[in-house]
Symmetry: C2
Subunit: 405 residues, 2 copies
Amino acid sequence: MNKPKIVILGAGFGGITTAVKLQKKLSRNDAHITLVNKHDYHYQTTWLHENAAGTLHHDRTRIPVKDIVDTNKIDFVQDTVVEIKPDEKKVVLKNGELDYDYLVVGLGFEAATFGIPGIMENAFTINSINSARLIKQHIEYNFAMYNNEKEKRPERLNIIIGGGGFTGIEFAGEIANRVPELCKEYDIDPKDVRMIVLEGAPTILPGFDPQLIEYAMNSLEARGVEFKTGALLKECRVDGITYEKDEKQEDIPALTTIWAAGVRANSLIETSGLEHNRGKVPVQPDLRAPSHPDVFVVGDCALIMNEETGRPYPPTAQIAMQEAETIAHNLSALVHGKENLESFEFINRGSVASLGDSDAIGVIFGDKKIFGWTASFMKKMIDNRALFKIGGLGLVLKKGKFNIF
Amino acid sequence: MNKPKIVILGAGFGGITTAVKLQKKLSRNDAHITLVNKHDYHYQTTWLHENAAGTLHHDRTRIPVKDIVDTNKIDFVQDTVVEIKPDEKKVVLKNGELDYDYLVVGLGFEAATFGIPGIMENAFTINSINSARLIKQHIEYNFAMYNNEKEKRPERLNIIIGGGGFTGIEFAGEIANRVPELCKEYDIDPKDVRMIVLEGAPTILPGFDPQLIEYAMNSLEARGVEFKTGALLKECRVDGITYEKDEKQEDIPALTTIWAAGVRANSLIETSGLEHNRGKVPVQPDLRAPSHPDVFVVGDCALIMNEETGRPYPPTAQIAMQEAETIAHNLSALVHGKENLESFEFINRGSVASLGDSDAIGVIFGDKKIFGWTASFMKKMIDNRALFKIGGLGLVLKKGKFNIF
């Protein structure tokens, strides 16, 4: 009898958690499991804004796959997925092809630019170790350049953050803490630096509690961050941006624009032949693709409706890791010939946005608002919990955040 | 009776040593001394290649003027010299003017580009804290970019060093040590990085002992540095260079070109009306300008012939600091109404070129060749001695180099 072949695409929060859970449930004799990832490391996507600002080294954010995955039980293939062919039960990689009996798609997100001109070419996005450390270097390079030019160029010191959602605000909190250090390093007057958050909605962090939003804005404004709400980015050039507010267009010169206003699922979904809804797979309750019951979808590529609000759950690490547990359970059931698959149910453990190393805001236990040190502590515990889920206590001790006092 | 006014231009090795020596010899009642410098810090020009490579933080290389100069005895003016008017006994600054009875000109060097197209615009020079830390950031930025591009661009990882003299070779030694760290930081194969020294003469370090040159080349080649001798830089573009060797021209793509092949005295000398010889003042034995006996010239702006070789002494920190001692002595004599001024005599304490943190070559005690650990140790002692001369034991303990084992 042939062992079933399970292929997991992506070692993000969803893919790596699926792999880690599966290696506990299945032995080499049960199934042949392959994990495919572009890099030989997993990274904590939710920490990348810290690497991008330069407040945390990127090596703290990434974890070698072989440190988490038991390579006696799971084969690891470092390669890039080029195409998913669910009708042929095949995945095309850059350097090869894989057949599967069961597939788990955890290929994450891409930036969505909504057709705004110049974003692709001129803005930075916080979506990988490579892009995050480039942002850090790009900002630092411009600060280093500033005093080398006779004619001072303010655009070297202006940092535009497109989007006042979670990522934008968390990045603003980090860069606000980093700028005074950079100014000291390069003999620059902090008053010459501008950090500007552009948000199209009437408020930052739309949907968050207004009291917490007020708290966040005060915390960031005190550290020099400016907010332009109801302001739409119209164009991003290499040396500046144009935004529209109250039907008036304004330019800001800036060599650094961080685009944090939109994400979409990996575009491979759209071209895969899997049934999809605006690029995401509207998974069944058991997290299988409706069109292909041998394909599970995890994380940012899966579309799951929140019955209470009638809107899809936003893509977060929290939901991806919970989905992975359900998928691991269901895959194990299928391999063992069981018919009853578990239905996914999201347990909302709350949501905390960091505002820098020692400040944060959030909602936990359903409706309890927290902010300041309490929230910052919670945020670090959430980060540590994610590490624990993936790599146990050893990983928490190695990469965890303990700078809590 | 009016106290004589002494103005010292520049806080480089020559200017700062003059100031430090003078404050020991003269009191506030003897003379009114003013030190003018562009920045509020002195820097060890001979260490800048380490800051540029990123192997030493630039704050180790610079010293606040007020930490060395006794501001009870010497006024410090942070300003840029715009013009020297020796016939009017006046110095024009960006934000003012100063009269003097005695002037010390220690305005250092500029890059000499010999009319090679593109050097001014596209090459970096190692001549200030600002330019050195920019080089560090520029190189690191390009390494950070490398893996962010689908089409890999080798010019991001190619580093051209124009000139195999002291500065070029010392920089090569540092960057050769830094590159493996950068490769680790940005997941780059060290084999993809090129460091290329271009030297017009048939050998690097022209004039140095051939055995030591051989040693230096072996040490650097073992760490990946390539040498092209008898090779003239013909053009420097923003993304590459053209050099000529054996009457054949070759291009090398490179976003980083360090120009270390030529220096000249500060161009203010030429426009000052001081008698000069190709931009330098051919000082009298007492180090006064032949055309203006109330002007002393120290360091890179002074031309002093080596009687033994019939050629001018090269501009070094060693000779600048020795000149400063003579100038301080002679100024003090003049202020005290003495007629007999001391003649400058250069005492050659040898010459050691660093090849990175733990390797060096040099000649000391006239003709003793040293290399490897011994030379590296000597180099660090030379660096520490310069600190001692300027700021005593306190400064040595604060900024000195003790990583000698």
